[in-house]
């Protein structure tokens, strides 16, 4: 029922947009009709390697995201498990966490040039430091009772960590990963606008240069679609894996 309402509302909005554009109430240079955007997307797929550019962007996002996650999860767990590690790392992480990622673009170009490394670094920077704190926080919110139950059936500290604490925070972790993945796209587009010769950010920026507004919008819409599909897939995975909730 809610899904039906969601689809109906989206369709209505599109129709309204189309009508406004068709009635020439707006300048198509600023505000092209949805049909024009769809047409533009069609010929971009056919003639301008849009699919390949999208693929390049997706690959960048996932590479950086998996790199950040695979580092943040163990480090976050260590931070919550050992007070000394937490105390040592938290100020550093908090400091970097508050730096706006775009402010670090020049630095990343100085360090890594304009190749893939700079983009991966930027995305990693934007997600790792957030994620590591989310993991540490998730671990420390595991009810003490669970930990103590495990100890009183004879578990060793490592077993408590693996079989109980990690397992207890897993649903939260997957949720956090899903949200963080969304941020990756924001940083990716910034990175691709500043320095790239491929990817969706590059496509959008190039189209802008020639004032091809339908193409700009087509690029934006495609990012939205990729985000929506990924998010729904991850939500479905969450529901399936954590049916007990």
């Amino acid at each position: 029922m809610t899904a039906l309402i969601a689809v109906a509302a989206s369709c209505l909005l599109l129709l309204l947009w189309e009508a406004v554009a068709r009635l020439s109430l707006t300048n198509p240079l600023f505000f092209p009709a949805p049909s024009a955007v769809v047409l533009a997307m069609g010929h971009m797929f056919a003639d301008q390697h849009l699919a390949w550019n999208a693929w390049v962007s997706i690959l960048r996002v996932w590479t950086a995201f998996l790199l950040a996650a695979s580092m943040a999860i163990p480090i976050g767990i260590l931070m919550s498990g050992y007070r000394a590690i937490g105390a040592a790392l938290e100020p550093v992480i908090d400091f970097i966490r508050y730096l706006p990622v775009p402010a670090l673009v020049p630095l990343s170009i100085i360090w890594f040039g304009v190749g893939e490394e700079a983009k991966i670094f930027l995305l990693w920077l934007g997600t790792f430091f957030q994620l590591v704190l989310l993991v540490a926080d998730g671990m420390s919110r595991v009810p003490q009772e669970y930990i103590e139950i495990a100890y009183t059936v004879g578990a060793k500290p490592r077993q408590v960590l693996k079989d109980v604490a990690f397992r207890a925070m897993l649903p939260d972790l997957v949720d956090n990963l899903r949200v963080t993945l969304g941020w990756c796209w924001t940083y990716l587009i910034i990175a691709e606008i500043v320095a790239a010769d491929s990817g969706l950010g590059f496509v959008i920026w190039t189209a802008r240069r020639y004032m091809k507004t339908p193409e700009v919008m087509a690029g934006v819409v495609l990012i939205g679609i990729i985000g929506l599909v990924t998010d729904q897939l991850l939500r479905a995975l969450h529901r399936h894996a954590f049916r007990y909730l």
Partner: protein, 257 residues
Amino acid sequence: MTAHLTFLDVTKRFGAVEVLATPFNLSIARNEFMVFLGPSGCGKTTLMRMIGGLDTPTTGQILLDGVPAGRPDWRRGMVFQSYSSFPWLTVAENVAFGMRYRNDLSESEKLARCDHYLDLVGLYEFSDAYPNQVSGGMRQRVAIARTLAAGSGVLLMDEPFGALDAQRREQLQIELRRIQRRDAKTIVFVTHDVEEAVFLADRVIVFSKRPARVVAEIDVRSRLGENRTLEMRDGVEFFALRNEVLGLVRASAAEEP
């Protein structure tokens, strides 16, 4: 009768907070149902947790079968009031978790024990349900079955029925008492409910407000016998003893500022 658990001059402080100032001495016999009764936050829970090895005495010692009890292990099982079972495991998996780290049991033994204790607490048909799909009373049974399956000789129970409605509570009290007799378990049960304490206990220790001090020790078994039933609960003897203990609790609460 040999002492199963012994407190030897135990005191406890957390930083500047004195939980137990006067040295505490107590022997709990094998197969005894011991209830610690006292106001919330008085330190009775800490005493119980020290038996489980979850807290350590500041001074003094706790002996299990005559030997310092040490770190937590499966010989002393815990049943908490909330978060008493793991939500990601089914009812049967939760019960089996009690034996997960016991390498002295074979897989088939573990399976048989799991079935046995599920049956004992009346949860066999809910084996594949998740804790969130069953009632609060059933979740507490899961926790009890887990400690039984683990083979714990001592069950440490921290207000385990505190969140249940009156009827479920009564039912579980009767069942717990039955299981305790049947399987010869030593139970240390913490509560602030006088009626629950008197109904379940062989012996009740009444504690003052923090820092905990023993106000009274009541030998319930010699007054009410071993068999606890609903009829007994409606009887004159139970009522008289309940009032007596209630009087002690009130007097203790009134005598301090």
